[in-house]
């Protein structure tokens, strides 16, 4: 019994010591603030999506590369994840800039990689990556007209994939499922290249009625 009493005493005094240490710490520097790491990427990616929508492709791409310098090597397992969204932004930005992102002034050289597209080889590699990334998204999100529109846009930038791009867009257009003005601009350009000027006009008109800025459709006119 005496032994038990002594053990309780020891426990109580140890507890009291812990308490006093804590209050001493408080006395010499205010509250202890735990370091919490905040993931800013969800907000950053949402901002990049808005930037892309505004037509500022290179700026959107820059935001992604700054947040995820290794984005190229990441694997999106599910649609809607940060990686999937980041890759979509970057892939579209690359395609809309024909494989060469003018980001040399805003990003340090060690993260620029091949994105600037200095050589035609780099440009081609960038565009192939863009196609591959959007293909992967298309595989994840089956039968999604918005993803298919994006993919077709990227495919149209690579000569060997242009027929596939046209096939996708024609199918979507037939069902009124072309999701973006950029995809309509692509379709107009593909139809024009195929000698279908009537079809080009129709697609162009759709692009113009959808787009916020006439610039989006200008290249296909």
């Amino acid at each position: 019994m005496k032994k038990l009493g002594a053990m309780v005493m020891v426990a109580v005094s140890a507890f009291a010591m812990v308490g006093s240490v804590a209050s001493d710490a408080k006395a010499c520097g205010g509250e202890w603030v735990p370091a919490v790491e905040i993931d800013h990427r969800p907000e950053g990616i949402a901002r990049a999506e808005k930037t892309l929508k505004k037509g500022e492709h290179a700026a959107a791409a820059g935001m992604i590369i700054r947040m995820m310098p290794h984005v190229k090597d990441l694997k999106a397992k599910k649609d809607g994840t940060l990686v999937a969204r980041a890759q979509r932004i970057l892939a579209l930005a690359v395609a809309r800039n024909n494989g060469a992102l003018p980001i040399d002034k805003e990003l340090p050289s060690y993260v620029q990689g091949t994105w600037i597209g200095k050589t035609s080889k780099d440009k081609a590699a960038n565009l192939e990556w863009s196609v591959a990334a959007l293909r992967k998204l298309n595989d994840i999100k089956k039968d999604d007209a918005a993803v298919q529109s994006d993919l077709a846009e990227a495919l149209a930038k690579v000569e060997k994939h242009r027929a596939e791009a046209k096939e996708i867009l024609e199918k979507l257009a037939q069902k009124d499922l072309v999701a973006t003005p950029e995809a309509y601009a692509t379709l107009a350009e593909l139809r024009s290249a195929a000698g279908d000027s009537e079809g080009q006009k129709v697609a162009l008109k759709r692009c113009e009625s959808m787009a916020k800025s006439a610039n989006v459709c200008r290249a296909a006119a």
Partner: protein, 424 residues
């Protein structure tokens, strides 16, 4: 019945569009909102429900209650309540009462949406309170039963037989005895007035009760009784004389946790009140006028405006990206309440243009022209306005489902945006 109707519709439309030039001719396909199980007489008014009176199978009904996920909104279905993340009412009430764990700005934003769905009637002891034929008819042709509630029973994809089966399960196969109402109607009216039944109930079709319900806030504790109180003109569709007198005498004996108070009526008073409720001459049901369709606007309408005025207010609750809605994109996206996933996502401009799956699983545009040339999205909004006026389109489910129809001005915004080629 579903397949032949949809297939014939698809075939008709396919033939009609067969000669179209291929460019951008949005090819209309099987109507996505075709119920496939259309009620035979769609025009029947709510007070004359014309119940099909099919014999229901309670066992089948049980699995249908599961399929239609009745327990996501209603208590007392006979099945376990849905888990929290699936239970609409519990989750909405938590948000409304600041009990939901989320950032305060999010809570404030969500409150604007959830205030539309904060209550649903409890179905406990349904057999002692509702005629099976009423449940059957109501499931097929839901209408505004509770005037103080914003939301109402959604129009499910349900056949006559399925409705009868659900009714059989909920009423536990009870067959109410046909009893002719006996009682003094004039005295019954006096009972309703002296007991201030009008505090919670309205009774359309008879002279106004002296007191009227007042709801100061959309939902708060203490207001539930007013929100859930049905319009008394529908009592005759819902209850037999025997049911009603028992209910009026002591509602807690019928359902222990009912919000209907025991009014301390004598047997005679309850019979008189029941006689008045069941036999009082009713003026025709007040018909909500169908708003006049407004012409398309000449000024530019952008997606931003459509999003702010319409999509964010109602549509996104059932049609959104599951990744930003805890995995559940809503019944119109990922499925639920007996609806198959239609993958219609209004969360972005691109996804809105990306369309939905038709009943064959083929992607189609939500702007596909319906028979009269109206884009499907607009037609669905107009169909809801007609539903509120008692006109159910057998081929098209009105949207928003179970919520008040959009105003003529809101529909005009959507229609103008579509007509202008859907500008960003």
């Amino acid at each position: 019945m579903t397949r032949p109707l949809v297939l014939s519709l698809a075939l008709t439309l396919a033939l009609a569009s067969g000669c179209k030039k291929k460019h951008e001719g949005a090819s209309p396909e099987a109507h996505p909102s075709a119920t496939g199980a259309a009620p035979s007489a769609v025009q029947a008014g709510p007070t004359t429900p014309d119940p099909p009176r099919l014999a229901g199978d309670a066992e089948r009904g049980r699995s249908l209650v599961e399929k239609f996920e009745c327990s996501r909104c209603h208590g007392g279905t006979g099945l376990a309540a849905s888990p929290f993340e699936k239970h609409c009412i519990t989750c909405h009430q938590d948000i409304w009462n600041d009990k939901f764990k989320a950032k305060p700005d999010k809570i404030e934003k969500w409150k604007k949406t959830v205030q539309l769905y904060l209550n649903a009637p409890n179905l406990e002891a349904a057999g002692a309170r509702y005629e099976p034929a009423f449940i059957q008819a109501f499931l097929l042709r839901p209408h505004k039963l509770r005037p103080n509630m914003i939301s109402s029973m959604p129009r499910l994809r349900i056949s006559d037989q399925e409705a009868a089966d659900v009714a059989a399960f909920l009423t536990k196969g009870e067959k109410p005895a046909a009893e002719a109402p006996v009682g003094d109607e004039a005295a019954g009216r006096q009972v309703l007035e002296s007991k201030a039944c009008g505090t919670c109930h309205v009774f359309t079709g008879v002279p106004d009760l002296p007191v009227k319900p007042t709801l100061t806030k959309p939902w708060q504790k203490g207001n539930d009784a007013i929100e859930l109180a049905p319009d008394l003109r529908f009592v005759r569709d819902r209850m037999s004389f025997g049911m009603l007198t028992r209910w009026l005498l002591d509602p807690t004996k019928v359902r222990a946790d009912t919000l209907m108070p025991k009014m301390g009526l004598s047997e005679k008073e309850s019979k008189d009140a029941a006689a008045y409720l069941l036999k009082a001459k009713l003026a025709p049901a007040p018909k909500k006028p169908i708003p006049t369709r407004l012409p398309v606007l000449e000024r530019k309408v952008t997606f931003e405006e459509v999003e702010k005025e319409v999509l964010l207010k109602t549509c996104r609750h059932c049609h959104t990206n599951p990744d930003i809605a805890r995995g559940d994109g809503g019944p119109g996206m990922t499925g639920g309440f007996g609806f198959v996933p239609r993958k219609l996502d209004f969360s972005t401009y691109e996804s809105t243009n990306g369309g939905l799956l038709d009943l064959k699983g083929e992607r189609m545009s939500v702007f596909t022209k319906t028979k009269d040339g109206t884009p499907l999205l607009v037609a669905s909004l107009l169909a809801r306005q007609k539903e509120e006026a008692g006109e159910l389109d057998p081929e098209l489910r009105g949207m928003p489902l179970g919520l008040p129809a959009l105003s003529a001005e809101q529909v005009q915004v959507v229609e103008s945006w579509v007509a202008q080629g859907r500008p960003q």
